[in-house]
């Protein structure tokens, strides 16, 4: 048009994706539903949590699943002041890589503390389980500091 008015419109891409898991990922989610955590032994003997179907170094199929603890240590973390839609909390929280007891690699999840000053690398945290669980990463609501704080 003469005034060159530019249009915009909302475009929404939405789908209720349903993902088949295969046996390894399925076992991890089954355990979450039951309230515990499993990992898998890598070719070099390390216990990977969450469990991967294929070795991250050799690419061999991995098969030996083992139970690990639901508490562990924060390896590194980020303080999310202003969470995005869909993230574990709509108030400030930390994303952290957490190495669980019995695991050799850390997993990503949220840590719930009042403010950033309560976070530190090396702190001990424990899974806070949801009451209603379906076999999903969100069956763990988050991790929270173990009483007594740092390890």
């Amino acid at each position: 048009m003469a005034d060159g008015e530019l249009l915009t419109a909302e475009l929404i891409i939405e789908y209720p994706f349903s993902r088949t898991t295969g046996p390894v990922i399925g076992a991890f989610f089954t355990a979450l539903r039951e309230g515990f955590i499993v990992g898998i032994k890598a070719s070099d003997g390390r216990v990977l949590v969450p469990p991967f179907e294929y070795d991250p170094i050799t690419s061999e199929s991995l098969t030996e699943m083992v139970e690990v603890g639901d508490a562990g240590e924060v390896v590194t973390w980020a303080w999310v002041n202003d969470p995005l839609e869909g993230q574990p909390f709509d108030r400030p929280f930390a994303f952290a890589l957490i190495k669980l007891d019995g695991a050799d690699t850390p997993m990503l999840h949220a840590v719930d503390v009042a403010d950033e000053s309560a976070m530190s690398t090396g702190m001990r945290v424990q899974a806070r389980w949801r009451a209603e669980r379906e076999g999903h990463i969100n069956d763990i609501e988050c991790f929270a500091p173990v009483d007594g704080g740092a390890s």
């Binding site: 419109a9 475009l11 789908y15 994706f17 993902r19 088949t20 990922i25 294929y54 690419s59």
Partner: protein, 391 residues
């Protein structure tokens, strides 16, 4: 440096089906890749680089899924490459992989293409509402039906041609253990009586929506010779070509697109083919709706314009005809979209290697693998042969 000779020494595919409920996305691609490696008698460590292809990321809802698949495909510490050229992607991906070997950059390349359509729904992913447009897009069928109607009008082809193609491909699929559809009871009348989904396209003239993957191991001349010496004949690449043209432009021939014919001329010239119908023994052609077989027969210069349907009617494209097309059952019997092009390329290679089992054409020496995508605008083709090319 000159161009190196290239051989296909390993081919693998999944069992294609509507929902592969037993595997993750990684498990699906891995299955095809492992079979290709086993066929090539190689291990993950033997592979220098991985080239992966698939159609839009929205199908699975994973952006750039190759990043997550690096571990499953043994790509860690190696080059990994992702191709996306719409429906032709499986073919384009194989060509990119063969270029890496032809250029002398790598000796052994694994190439994989896949789609796990059951994570969403193809009709949804292909028909997303675009603002400012009426909501009338109805997937690929709605897009291609007018082109088919145009072909019928221009060629005067009778209505039953599409039915014959569908019947042939579905019956061929009964000989292919990996095919998605195994319709033992299919008849001419059952196709004819199936619902008109996108008039003039019937339900039984339409490809299914599949989960599936295909993988190839591609090597240089040394690898091809070694496989041959070990009694596992390779398929030698005799020519490859891409062509693209705009989706829509004034005067565009959408029924018989120029890009397709130019691509065919290019790949034939590389392979020394002057009379394609005579010199090519078997064709794996991308036919998602049955009417595309006669359309592509013309586009690929197997028939004069307007005459392709007569080859169908005469049975020339049946397994016992003079130009068997889609002995595997083709896209009409299995359609994991991103993998469908590579399945055509791979099945062509299986034919010249003599490893197609029940759907093998005896004595096949030269085969064409064909894929197309977008609005019949992206083309990828290769010619493979049992004999090592001279140059």
């Amino acid at each position: 440096m000159g161009k190196q000779r290239v051989a296909i020494v390993g081919i693998g595919q999944t069992h294609h089906t509507a929902v592969r409920g037993d595997v993750s996305i990684a498990g699906l691609v891995r299955e095809a890749a492992q079979r290709a490696l086993d066929d090539a008698q190689m291990s993950w460590a033997d592979i220098d680089a991985v080239v992966i292809g698939k159609a839009p990321d929205f199908f699975e809802g994973v952006m750039m899924p190759e990043l997550y698949l690096a571990d499953a495909l043994g790509a860690v510490g190696k080059p990994m490459f992702r191709v996306h050229t719409a429906g032709s992607v499986g073919g384009s991906t194989a060509i990119v992989a063969q270029d890496l070997v032809a250029a002398g950059i790598h000796e052994r390349v694994l190439t994989v293409a896949f789609e796990k359509q059951s994570e969403s729904e193809a009709m949804w992913a292909l028909s997303m509402k675009i603002p400012f447009q009426p909501p009338m897009h109805a997937g690929a069928g709605g897009y291609f039906a007018p082109h088919i109607r145009g072909y019928m009008q221009r060629s005067g082809a009778p209505d039953h041609i599409g039915i014959l193609v569908a019947l042939k491909d579905r019956q061929n699929a009964l000989k292919n253990p990996y095919a998605h559809l195994h319709e033992h009871d299919i008849t001419f009348d059952s196709v004819k009586d199936s619902m008109m989904l996108w008039d003039p396209i019937r339900y039984s003239e339409t490809c299914p929506s599949s989960d599936g993957a295909c993988a190839l191991v591609i090597t240089n001349e040394k690898g091809g010779d070694a496989a041959a010496a070990a009694g596992r004949p390779p398929a030698w690449v005799k020519g490859t070509a891409f062509r693209s043209e705009p989706t829509m432009f004034a005067g565009r021939d959408q029924v018989n697109p120029v890009g397709g014919t130019e691509c065919a001329r290019d790949v034939y010239a590389q392979a020394g083919i002057t009379d394609p119908r005579k010199q090519i023994d078997v064709v794996e052609m991308y036919v998602p709706f049955s009417w595309f077989e006669p359309m592509w027969l013309e586009n690929l210069l197997f028939a004069e314009e307007g005459q392709g349907w007569k080859m169908v009617e005469d049975g020339a494209t049946q397994m016992d005809g003079d130009l068997p097309v889609n002995c595997s059952g083709g896209v009409l019997s299995s359609n994991p979209i991103g993998a469908s092009g590579m399945l055509r390329f791979g099945e062509a290679a299986m034919q010249v290697r003599g490893q197609a089992g029940e759907h093998q054409i005896d004595g096949a020496r030269t085969a064409l693998g064909h894929a197309y995508g977008g609005g019949s605008q992206f083309f990828a083709m290769w010619i493979v042969g049992a004999d090592k090319p001279e140059s």
